[in-house]
């Protein structure tokens, strides 16, 4: 069983973690073409080489990122998500609303 270093909790068995998928930036959800969006949602790069992945330490629910070489399966580095995400992300309103047939009702 592999070991993984959690930036908060240190070196632990990898069974203590949940894999959160490859990290890749989300395209602009309004501007992206259908194809770009579909690729973002459904395609994974699955590259041979160094990739960045999301991992969560289950016991502390702490999310972080790991650089892993998919050829050697060696984990090169783990770091807090705040290294990449260090400011608030905002979404602007849809320029042209799709007409609705039903309101927000239950």
């Amino acid at each position: 069983m592999k070991l993984l270093t959690c930036p908060l909790n240190g070196l632990r068995n990898i069974t203590e973690f949940t894999y959160g998928g490859e990290y890749h930036p989300m395209p602009d959800h309004q501007q992206a073409s259908s194809r770009e969006w579909a690729e973002h949602v459904f395609f994974h790069d699955n590259s041979a080489g160094v990739v960045i992945e999301w991992w969560c330490h289950s016991a502390s629910s702490y999310w972080f990122l790991a650089e892993r070489n998919t050829i050697s399966d060696k984990i090169l580095r783990t770091f807090p998500a705040s290294e990449i995400f260090n400011q608030r992300i905002d979404f602007v309103a849809v320029p042209e609303a799709t007409p609705t047939t039903k309101g927000e009702s239950q």
Partner: protein, 971 residues
């Protein structure tokens, strides 16, 4: 005891002659000594025949005396395929041989050997390929003949367990290399684990002859073992097998009934080498044994291997064995040295000086049975003319024991599991290992060192490297030990074909030279294919004694080098392990609500949903349906109480709490008034529904969101992951276990609740449907949510976890005058189905988007963003492929459809049922199903293929089935 076959001390270092032990083999009484294993004790009693071979039922006896071969597999009362040369004898132990019909001595199955010509390699593939069904007919017969041990079906469960251990350095193998590596590492203060699968530390020092007089090994072993035992930094485990090498030095070590899960910072594998057999006619006869097996018998167990012996050797170790045999009073009739011009070392010269007959450039061409037919009687020796080819004639030498000393294979399994590569050195005719995984080294003979001094220096060097890397030492590491100039112990081609075959390459599977050659001729040239086609190396000893010979044969047959041919992939486990070792100490956590025991006391039938115990219904199981129907009716007409503590609960607090929910769930939450609950539907990025709940807004900055029992863990993690990216000013906390909760539902719910709740105005105007309030219920601080959980007037009451039982008691007591009754999840599911509520994960699957399940209303259209929003937009561009409808079955005699029953349109499958149950309220089965859009019109009919293939007609109805105007929950 009449032990004519025992030797006097110092032979027999492991046995205690003062402690006789009685046991039984094949229902006969035998005696051995404490310290004996089954094979040694039987050998001491001249019982050499232990088992019958897998395919031809040939007699087999001990081969390695090291627990490395399948010849010694025997049957214990509840333990099939146990190794006789591993299992210690104990008083009263019942041992049976395996794989024979009739008796071990006269096995009727042995006739199969006569037909071996008609059982060529790949026989089963070829013979049963056609016609179809042929194999099914023959398989039971063949399996009966080719079986191994028998499983005891009355097996009593035994206690196995597991334990984690942590070390700086783990040393696997406690021979001279392992002992030295452990001592060197321990010097630096490192915590060292030393593991050996044998009963005694010292490895080959226990039985090898390292000098002419035969003293060095014993003296050295005593010194090293004493030093190890006196060292507090070393934990030594014997009779313990490291059964695999996994990433980052994760080592499963099996010792007794415990599996140690060892994590070592560094591992040094000093696992030694495995002696190999010579391949010649009848090389499997009992009495033909490894040279090291003879030495183990004598030195460890004080058992004389025989009366007269021949040694066949390709190295000088064979001469050392001959000296040991002489010391044990065995008559050594000849040393057959495969080498043309051997280079003798001091030991060999000493042996020669004893006047032994030595034939160089000769081979053992065949072994012959004695008069009894079950043991070696003589060997035929012939001059070697060229590689693998012997002279046309030879001569016969009488002997009851043949010791084979023709070479070794490094114990490569663990290293190769870790990615190590096996190469073949043509000069030394030996496999060598490279490419050890990180933080793992090999040392000693597994690292191709054969001279004792080299072995020990190599091990110390490995330990220094390990402790230096751990910053426990800063020793100057000597240069790598050069490979010995001494002649290799491996003879390049100890393989001699015979016109009558029976030269076994693989004892486990009864494979002969021709089987391997023919596999390559049948087109399976790659060694991996040879293995799969011929089954070579697939048996219990996993190629330990066949890999080298197979590689050589395949290489020669395919004009490749042995290095190019290689060996098949090594996978864990290294040796067979009991299922108990995997199954022992497994954890299946169970969750119980605070009201758990009240349910039991009320007669609930509990079931486990995920880890949670939940009441299915209350009452005896023989009247299951009646109880459930009563529970449903009581809710519809009166008032019921259900434990919903398992519901997920997540606090979302802070200035950005509304913004966060607005992005996370499909609905709009910014304008949700304080004091109101709102349905919360969750989709993933692909627009697929993954959870739902209600979001209760208690203050501007405080939401309490419920989630499904099974989904809350993922919902919570997903929330945290998204906010790790969005960086909103919000706090998210999973408080599922902090709250007990009940839902009190039915027309009388308000009247019951009002009796124990005075500080919340329960009037329908003051506390309307989908309102949330805080107050006290039965004196317990509570969050009260007015939801239409089951489609009746109802309140969900969430209170601190530890008060669950107190609340339950209060409501049951107060509700008594209204005949309140608890209901379980069976009734709950029917009640919710009657209202057309879907269960995420049952009525939805990994492709379900909101439109398919009529949830378009729960999607906010004007939000800048929500998870899954863009994907839902995309899905909206294409017509629906399926949609969910409600249906009723009007034929009350028809079998009630079940989940996953097919929806048909003629012969075409067009959908499936996702939920269906008898509705006591509507008095007919109601259900939900995915159908094609043109089957979805209310009033139309479709066919369901129900249990037993019965076609059931279903009618589409508009949802919900019950109370279509949804008035009852708003009373």
């Amino acid at each position: 005891m009449s032990d004519q076959n025992r030797l006097a001390p110092p032979f027999g270092s492991l046995i205690d002659r003062q402690q006789p032990i009685s046991f039984r083999f094949e229902k006969q009484n035998y005696q051995g000594f404490a310290g004996d294993n089954i094979a040694s004790a039987l050998a001491a009693n001249q019982q050499w025949l232990l088992s019958r071979s897998f395919k031809y039922h040939r007699p087999r006896g001990l081969l390695t005396m090291a627990g490395q071969d399948a010849n010694t597999m025997i049957q214990l009362s509840s333990d099939p395929n146990a190794l006789a040369d591993r299992i210690a004898i104990s008083d009263g132990l019942e041992v049976m041989a395996q794989n024979y019909s009739g008796s071990l001595n006269r096995d009727r199955g042995a006739l199969l050997g006569l037909f071996s010509k008609f059982l060529p390699v790949g026989f089963y593939y070829k013979a049963f390929f056609k016609p179809r069904g042929m194999w099914e007919k023959w398989a039971p017969l063949i399996r009966k003949k080719a079986g191994l041990g028998v499983i005891n079906q009355d097996y009593q469960v035994e206690y196995y367990d597991k334990q984690y251990q942590f070390y700086d350095v783990a040393v696997i193998g406690a021979g001279p290399a392992g002992l030295c590596a452990a001592l060197e590492a321990a010097k630096t203060g490192a915590e060292v684990l030393l593991v050996d699968e044998n009963a005694s530390l010292g490895g080959s020092l226990n039985y090898s002859r390292l000098d002419a007089e035969g003293n060095t090994a014993r003296v050295l072993r005593q010194a090293l073992v004493a030093e190890v035992e006196a060292n507090d930094n070393i934990t030594a485990m014997t009779s313990a097998t490291c059964n695999g090498w996994f990433a980052d030095n994760w080592l499963p070590i099996i010792c007794g009934k415990r599996l140690y899960k060892v994590r070592a910072k560094k591992t040094i594998l000093c696992v030694g080498s495995l002696e190999q057999q010579a391949v010649f006619h009848n090389n499997d006869l009992p009495g033909v044994i490894m040279s090291s097996a003879a030495q183990r018998l004598m030195h460890l167990y004080g058992v004389r291997p025989g009366k007269t012996a021949v040694v066949v050797t390709g190295n000088n170790e064979g001469y050392a064995t001959a000296l040991d045999l002489l010391d044990a009073g065995v008559q050594v009739n000849a040393i057959i040295d495969l080498r043309q011009q051997p280079e003798y070392d001091a030991i060999a010269e000493y042996a020669v000086s004893k006047g032994l007959e030595v034939k160089t450039g000769y081979a053992v061409y065949a072994a012959n049975k004695d008069s009894g037919g079950l043991h070696l009687g003589s060997v035929e020796v012939r001059e070697i003319m060229s590689q693998g080819i012997c002279a046309a004639e030879g001569n016969t030498i009488l002997c009851d024991t043949l010791c084979m000393s023709v070479g070794y294979t490094p114990t490569y399994q663990l290293i190769c599991q870790g990615g190590g590569r096996l190469s073949y050195d043509d000069t030394s005719a030996m496999f060598t290992l490279t490419n050890c995984p990180e933080d793992c080294q090999i040392a000693g003979s597994v690292n191709s060192h054969w001279l004792l001094d080299d072995v020990m220096a190599d091990a110390r060097r490995a330990a220094m490297i390990a402790t230096n890397e751990l910053d426990l030492s800063s020793a100057t590491v000597p240069a790598a030990i050069a490979l010995s100039q001494q002649q290799s112990p491996n003879f390049g081609w100890p393989i001699f074909a015979h016109p009558k075959g029976k030269e076994f390459v693989d004892f486990d599977e009864d494979l002969q030279i021709a089987d391997i050659i023919n596999a390559t001729r049948d087109g399976y040239e790659h060694v991996q294919l040879v293995k799969r086609y011929s089954t070579c190396g697939m048996g219990p000893s996993q190629g330990r004694h066949s890999a080298l010979a197979t590689a050589r044969l395949v290489a020669a047959a395919t004009d490749k080098t042995v290095a190019q041919t290689g060996v098949t992939t090594a996978r864990p486990p290294f040796s067979a392990e009991h299922l108990g070792h995997s199954a022992g100490r497994s954890f299946y956590p169970a969750q119980r609500s605070n009201m758990h025991y009240r349910h039991l006391e009320a007669g609930a039938q509990m079931l486990q949903a995920g880890a949670w115990y939940r009441p299915a219904y209350y009452g005896s199981s023989d009247q299951r349906q009646d109880w459930i129907n009563n529970e449903v009716n009581n809710v519809r007409n009166n008032v019921g109480l259900v434990d919903v503590s398992t519901l997920g609960g997540i606090e979302v607090r802070g200035p950005d709490a509304p913004e966060f929910l607005n992005r996370f769930y499909t609905f709009g939450f910014l304008k949700q008034p304080v004091g109101k609950a709102r349905y919360a539907l969750l989709t993933n990025e692909a627009g697929v529904i993954i959870d739902d709940g209600v979001a209760c807004r208690f203050t501007e900055q405080h939401y309490y969101v419920t989630a499904t029992t099974g989904g809350v863990g993922n919902v919570y993690q997903s929330m945290l992951k998204w906010n790790a990216q969005w960086c909103l000013d919000v706090d998210i906390a999973n408080v599922t276990s902090a709250y007990s909760a009940v839902n009190i539902a039915g027309p009388n719910a308000r009247r019951v609740l009002a009796k124990v709740c005075s500080d919340i105005d329960l009037d329908s105007q003051a506390f309307p449907y989908m309102g949330v309030r805080e107050g006290n219920v039965a004196g317990i601080p509570a969050r009260v949510i007015r939801v239409g959980f089951v489609g009746e007037l109802g309140y969900e009451v969430h209170i601190p976890q530890h008060c669950g039982e107190a609340l339950w008691d209060a409501l049951i007591e107060t509700g008594a005058e209204f005949s309140i009754k608890p209901f379980g999840i069976e009734a709950q599911r029917i009640l919710r189905l009657e209202k057309g509520h879907i269960i995420i994960g049952q009525d939805t699957d990994a492709m379900s988007n909101p439109n398919e399940v009529n949830m378009g209303w729960a999607i906010a259209k004007k939000k800048p963003f929500f998870v899954g929003g863009r994907s839902i937009q995309e899905l909206n561009k294409t017509p629906l492929k399926r949609c969910q409808v409600g249906f009723v079955v009007n034929d009350l005699k028809a079998p009630i459809p079940l989940e996953s029953h097919l929806v048909l349109d003629g012969d075409r499958m067009t959908g499936r049922v996702t939920s269906c149950n008898y509705s006591p309220t509507l008095n007919k089965p109601v259900g939900l199903a995915f159908v094609e859009p043109d089957q979805a019109e209310a009033g139309s009919h479709f066919t369901i293929k129900s249990s037993g293939g019965v076609m059931v007609e279903a009618m589409v109805v508009k949802l919900p089935f019950y109370d279509p105007q949804t008035q009852r929950q708003e009373l």
